[in-house]
Each structure stands twice: as structure tokens, then as C-alpha cells.
Symmetry: C2
Subunit: 336 residues, 2 copies
DNA sequence: TGCTAAAATGAAAGTGCTTTCATTATTCTT
DNA sequence: AAGAATAATGAAAGCACTTTCATTTTAGCA
């Protein structure tokens, strides 16, 4: 037989039927303007070739599945994955496709935000943990692209946030209640990228402020800036755990960094929580596996909610702007 | 001023912004290839004119949709996420969108496989860890939809696999070398769903066969069926760890289940590896954090490779079918 | 049989967009 | 300061179809 065909075009049909593309086009669009015999022959070829006009296929495709997009940095970090899981679960039964746009530079983010609302043929957009500028928001709004932000506030869009400062506060309180007087902090206070956001700074701020109120202020040496990478966190953890006057409790601004602390502590032969207490932030799945005490921010929930907000918005485009603040809970497990 | 009523085209934008249509097109599609100032001006015009590119013309001009799809079960399980990460990294610089189709029932899978090739708004498909039937493969092939399977073999499609049996074998050998004589196994031998695949069974088989050869056969009670859920794994781990004659070494068929074992052991006051040695399978990120000895199957790599295979296939549609077997390595850490 | 109107058809000119390739402007080396 | 590399841009050639308009074929009728 003939070699494998790419999807046939009108040209293929024309050649096969021995007519011009004009006639094929007409046979399809204005059947009465072409000789019945010719038309029959053309239709036959069309059937055997399985020709489908591209535009139609597209239109059909567009109608069947809606598409919602998620813009996220490092989408494989556990916390983002859990948010995504929430999004996916909400979308699953609604016949929506899930398109992911991983961001790793400002330019990329800007590029997405500029072109997505226009060419992206998306029905809605979820933007996770990214600082988005007013002009970009404006574009979204003007192009009537429903969007919801997670972890970032904006007056013109739906938002889902938590009180990061309060989270830090809770941890500080807890440590104090347990009698700790010398504490440390590890977190990515200074995200290198302009597009990233700074919830960590707020967590630290809350943490600091309770300690201050309690009269045991957190001094500089006990605050370790650690990039959100395994090596970075380990380095910071090592510095903190080998200090002359080692802190008796550590607040890691994310669970994944807390895990690094655990690893380093193990290597140094330090016991948790006996030698150092440890509290993380996020409550990713893994936290339960390793019995990490942590501040739960409902990650799955945030994603699910974002998706539902979007779906609602799509169903009845009544722009009742929602700003949702999810609660935080300190989950007490074995490390503090 | 003229009362222009027609929907604006790229030409209008270009004229208004004082650039060529080329530059407008680029501003939308490859933002980084045009001067930021120019881009800003163009975007402004686009906004005021309310320009929306016609999807049809667009699809026509670039004879690709720029979208590749990934079908995967539980895409939020760490191992899948890592594969996805690989896919995303390979796609990132090639300007392809990543569309995710999470599967949680046979019907859904069938539905996707039935409609995707027809609707044809994907350029390629990656199918992870799913058993796909011959008739579906046929449909993909006939509709010239490039596809690559991960963790499942099929003669007509690109495949990326590992030797699961060998993996089990390696673990058995290792335990034997360390002097263990009584071992246990935990894994999801019987996935409840028809569409799921059975690599775990092969891992068990390899494990069993070495032990047999060594004269210390693995008896039934030491093989625990555990669903791929936290509770399921914990239950199985508990049973295994509280047996009268507790095994001195356990092979968990996935890292995530190994983590459950670690947790249960901790609760029971058992030391790893002194009281029980433990080896997992996959080498997910987390394995390093908790110092889990495990069999590394290059997860990221598998995704990256799959994406690259696909991209190759798209660039030059010479159907040289590739069946790639990735190597396994036993990564020795602290648990065995 | 000759002449005209109607029917059937194809060449080629759009359509709105992307992409290749060549050109010009800018920045970097040495 | 000259030359090389790089960035920014536009002209023009597609892409898969539709439409216009000119041409050929056929049918109708005196």
C-alpha cells in the first residue's frame, strides 16, 4: 500500500480525484455548484483519505474541551504539585484540559502574560506564587480573561492567600510555650528573581515579632538565608547546627527545607526534637511521612478552590471578586 | 478618522505601531526576540485596537499546534512528577505547551485515546505507566499521532522502559551479600484498575528468584500486598514489622512505600538499618533527604528522553522506532 | 446547424498569520 | 578605532483554504 500519510489536505483530495482544489472546496461548501458525478467522486476520495478541513477540526476541538492554564514557577516542588493536584481534581469532571506553563525567568512570565490572554485560547488562568504587575493584570482584565491568583494579592482579580505573618507568629508562640529561648530561622528570604514573591519574609517577620514581644529577640546570626535548593538548605542548616551556641529550636520556612535540616542533624548526630526542635511550613505530604511538625496551609485546597472559582466565573460571568484567606493550623508531630 | 468596523488584523496593528507585521507576530509569539520598547508599544496598540489573532489562520501558518500532551495516572505521585519535570525541561526551550490529562478510570483513558488523535490539536503524546490496548495503538498510528510510552512496551510505538525484574534481582543480591537470610517485600502487586500496569510484580519476581537461587526462598507471609496509599503501606509495614519472626531486611517496591515503612518502624521503636534494613525503588528526590537506600531508575531522564524522542519525531518524521531501556543503579545510602 | 445561455471547472488572487532569510543597527573585542 | 558578533527588524515566501473571474463544456432552441 501507500506510505503513511500525514493528515491529508485539500490538495491531496484534488489530486486523487483529478480535479482542482477549487472544485473540492466547492463540493464541500456549495455542493449545488458542482456536477453531481464529480461531487460523488470527490466525496469518495474524501472518505477514503479521511480528510477533515483543519479549521473545522480545530473548531470542534475548541468546543468540546475547555482549557484552563496554570502558570507556576518550579512546578515540581512538592508544594506546587499539591496545589496542582487540587486544581486537577476540581477540573477532572468538568471536561477541562489542564495546560501548564512553567516559569523560570521574568521574561518568560511576561511573555506568557502578554500573549496568553490573546493567543492562548484559554478559558481561564490560575497564577501561582508569582508577582504579577499591574499592567499585566490590566491586560488580563481588559481581555476578559478570568484569572485567579494564589499567594499574591491584587484588587482586580480573584485571590487565594494565607496570613504568612500569622504563620510565623504561631511557630514562635509554640516554641516559646515549649520553653525555648534560643531559636533559629532558615528560609529563602531573598528570592533571586524579580518575579518571585516574598511570603517567607513575612513568615520571618511574624516569627521575629513574637520573640521580640517575649523578650528573646532573634539576632542576626540566627537567621539563615538559604536558597530553595537542597544544597543551599543544607549549607544553612549546617551553619546553624554547628554554632557555638546552637539554637534549641529551628523554624524552617518551608517543609522541604526542614527536611534538609533533619538530614544535616542526622549526619551531625543531633537528635530531633531532643537536641533541636524543628517546625516547618506547608504540610506537604512528606511531612507526615517523616513526622515533621509544621504549619499546615491547605495546599490541595488552595488549588481546588482556585479552580472552582474559575469554573464558577466561567459559568456565570458575574464578576463578584473573591479574596479568600485560607486558615493556618499548626500540626503537632514528632519534631517539636 | 474613519469608522473602521472590521475586526482588526495584524496588519492594522503593524500600521498603527509603525512596524512590520513580522514584528507584531514576534512580539506575541517570541517576546524575547523583540526590543522591549517596541514590544510595549505594540502591546499597547493591540490593547486599544482589541486585536485577537484568528486561531484558524494561526494554526494554518504554523503547521503545528505547539502542544504536546501527557497522559498519566495520579500525576501527583512523586515519581510521576519527576518524570513530568523531565518532560517539561525538554519542552521548555522548544516552545511547546504541556497539556496534562490525568487518568483515573479506564473510561477516561479510552476517551482520551479515542478523541485526541481525531481532534488532532496535539502534536504528540506521552503516555506514562499505562497499559494501552492494541486497538488504541492502532488508532494513534493510523492518525499519525506521534506517541511515546513510558513503562510499557508496544511494538508500534516508541517506548522507554526499565528492567524491573533486574531491579528486584539487584536488591536481593545486595541483601544476600550483607548476610540477610530473612527478608520481606512490600508492594502494590495488584493494581485495582485494569488500565494500570504491573511493574511491581516483576520487581518481586526478580527479588524472589535470587533468593531462591541462594537457597533462602521468600515465603508467602513475607510478601505483603499494599495499595499505593499511605494507609495501605503503613498497614502492610506494620504487619511485616510485628511478625513473630521479623524479617531483617525489607524491599519496598517504591520509595514512597519505603517511607511508610520508615515511619512505622520509627513508631515501633525499630532502628533502620540495625533492626531492619530497607531498600526502596525509584530514587525520588525525597529518598536523598531521608537517606534511603534505593534502586535508581532515572525518572527525570525518562521524561526528558520521552519528550526528546517526540520532538525528534516531529522534526523529521522518519519513523525509526526506538525502544530504550534505561539502566538501574543501586544507590547505597543509610538504610541498608 | 448555428448561436446563446447556463453549467462546470480551474487559475490565480486573496485571507491573516508564521517563518526564513537578508539587512541594518548596536554592542563587544582587541 | 576597526572588525566581529549579536540584536532588532522587515520583505517576502509559505500555509490550507475560499472566492473571484475567466474559460471551457454542455444544453437549449430557432
Amino acid at each position: 500500500m501507500s506510505p503513511v500519510q500525514k493528515t491529508p489536505t485539500i490538495y491531496d483530495v484534488a489530486r486523487e480525484a483529478g480535479v482542482s482544489i477549487t472544485t473540492v472546496s466547492r463540493a464541500l461548501n456549495k455542493p449545488d455548484r458542482v456536477n453531481p458525478q464529480t461531487r460523488a467522486r470527490i466525496m469518495e476520495v474524501i472518505d477514503t483519505l479521511g480528510f477533515v478541513p483543519k479549521a473545522e477540526a480545530r473548531a470542534r476541538a475548541m468546543r468540546r474541551n475547555g482549557r484552563i492554564g496554570v502558570i507556576t514557577p518550579f512546578f515540581t516542588a512538592p508544594s506546587f504539585v499539591q496545589r496542582l493536584r487540587g486544581v486537577a481534581s476540581a477540573l477532572a469532571h468538568e471536561h477541562y484540559e489542564l495546560v501548564i506553563y512553567p516559569v523560570d525567568s521574568v521574561e518568560q512570565l511576561q511573555g506568557y502574560l502578554a500573549s496568553i490572554p490573546i493567543v492562548g485560547n484559554l478559558d481561564g488562568l490560575i497564577i501561582m506564587s508569582l508577582a504579577i504587575e499591574d499592567q499585566d493584570v490590566r491586560r488580563l482584565v481588559e481581555n476578559a480573561m478570568p484569572a485567579v491568583l494564589i499567594e499574591y494579592l491584587n484588587q482586580e482579580l480573584h485571590c487565594i492567600v494565607i496570613r504568612d505573618e500569622q504563620g510565623g507568629y504561631m511557630v514562635g508562640e509554640y516554641f516559646l510555650r515549649k520553653g525555648h529561648r534560643c531559636m533559629g530561622f532558615i528560609g529563602d528570604i531573598e528570592p533571586p528573581e524579580r518575579y518571585a514573591i516574598h511570603p517567607v519574609r513575612l513568615r520571618l517577620q511574624g516569627f521575629k515579632s513574637v520573640l521580640e514581644q517575649a523578650g528573646v529577640p532573634l539576632s542576626k546570626e540566627y537567621i539563615k538565608q538559604a536558597p530553595y535548593t537542597p544544597e543551599g538548605s543544607r549549607q544553612a542548616a549546617y551553619e546553624l547546627l554547628t554554632m557555638d551556641k546552637r539554637p534549641t529550636a529551628i523554624f524552617a520556612a518551608s517543609d522541604i527545607q526542614a527536611l534538609s535540616v533533619m538530614k544535616v542533624a542526622r549526619q551531625l548526630g543531633l537528635k530531633i526534637p531532643e537536641d533541636v526542635a524543628l517546625i516547618g511550613f506547608d504540610d506537604i505530604d512528606m511531612a507526615d511521612y517523616v513526622d515533621l511538625t509544621t504549619v499546615r496551609q491547605h495546599l490541595d485546597e488552595s488549588g481546588r478552590l482556585a479552580a472552582e472559582l474559575l469554573l464558577d466565573h466561567l459559568k456565570n460571568p458575574k464578576p463578584i471578586l473573591q479574596h479568600i484567606t485560607l486558615p493556618l493550623t499548626l500540626i503537632e508531630r514528632a519534631t517539636a
